[in-house]
Symmetry: C2
Subunit: 192 residues, 2 copies
């Protein structure tokens, strides 16, 4: 039930097309929720049916016509009341962790490569987060921004996302060290 509210929350930033949202909710970009384009188009359809968002067609030059969605009054109310409801406890669901859990029955070299790829992905995401951060701060210092800005939600979720990716990076480095040490120890014990 959260995609619904994630979409409404995204529309707090202003009106957007399904395509715009698809970019925002892309797994490589998203900092508070992710979804595929298909999910978004369907959800927007439903939200429009419930009149939580309004839709209008915007013709463009040199581009396909798009449908632009905006929060309605009742959409805003729905979002406000959602913020007060208890969140369902979220737990880990990361493919890579399953692979690491099973690491000892698999191929160490292959796993090492996957961990390196994840680290690279995290670095890319951190770079994007940093750009978003600068856009939000817009020259102001963090403390000043957090005290005075009209909306701090997006910044606070960004901080969470950034911390998550930094932690990912540290963890990847740790895993690689451990794997390397074990390889070395194994090489010394079973020389061939």
């Amino acid at each position: 039930m959260s995609l619904k509210h994630a979409v409404l929350a995204a529309l707090l930033e202003g009106e957007a097309s399904g395509y715009d949202l698809a970019k925002l909710f892309d797994a490589a970009v998203a900092n508070f929720w992710s979804a595929t384009p298909q999910q978004l188009y369907r959800e927007l359809e439903r939200l429009a049916d419930e009149e939580l968002v309004s839709a209008r067609l915007v013709a463009q030059e040199r581009r396909p016509t798009k449908r632009v969605f905006a929060l309605t009054e009742s959409g805003l109310r729905a979002l406000a009341s959602f913020t007060g409801e208890p969140p369902r406890p979220t737990a880990v669901r990361d493919d890579l962790l399953v692979k690491i859990q099973a690491l000892d029955c698999g191929d160490p070299a292959g796993v090492r490569e996957l961990v390196e790829e994840r680290a690279a992905f995290s670095r890319g995401k951190l770079a994007r987060y940093e750009r978003l951060r600068e856009r939000l701060l817009d020259g102001r210092g963090e403390e000043e921004y957090l005290r005075r800005a009209e909306r701090v939600g997006p910044y606070l979720t960004l901080l969470r996302g950034r911390a998550f990716e930094e932690e990912n990076l540290r963890w990847c480095a740790r895993v690689l060290t451990v794997l390397a040490e074990r390889e070395a120890a194994r090489g010394a014990a079973e020389p061939r």
Copy 2:
């Protein structure tokens, strides 16, 4: 497709019933994947059909008979080859982050309460992780364990889970500070 492999990975620890796995995959406990009991029973049924796990009935005294599952040779092979496949990039999906993203249109006091609850949840999870850690280390030091233990996968995923909850705790504290400062600033600006 990952629940399948998460279940296989869990069975690396030894045979287990659906009920045992349900406890392990509980959202409040899981450190590498979570799932509901219903999902697990269905998945185990499928895995047994594919002969990736074997099932046998175990009668107990004073308790209902249980069905205990164990990895088969081909299950182990499937898991090993899974560890080499690229993981799908996982992105955030946390209800609380959506609420924080939309915080500025909601009720600050209500949100503060939710953040405090999340912090309490994280503290509980950290305590459970710490117990699991001690059980894994079994008196050995971390460095020694990581160099010599037969399986390090479970420990490495545990480290990731622990770092995640610690980060959660720090972030919750930060959010609460920001909210309090803004409340104070608002109180000073609009005294009534």
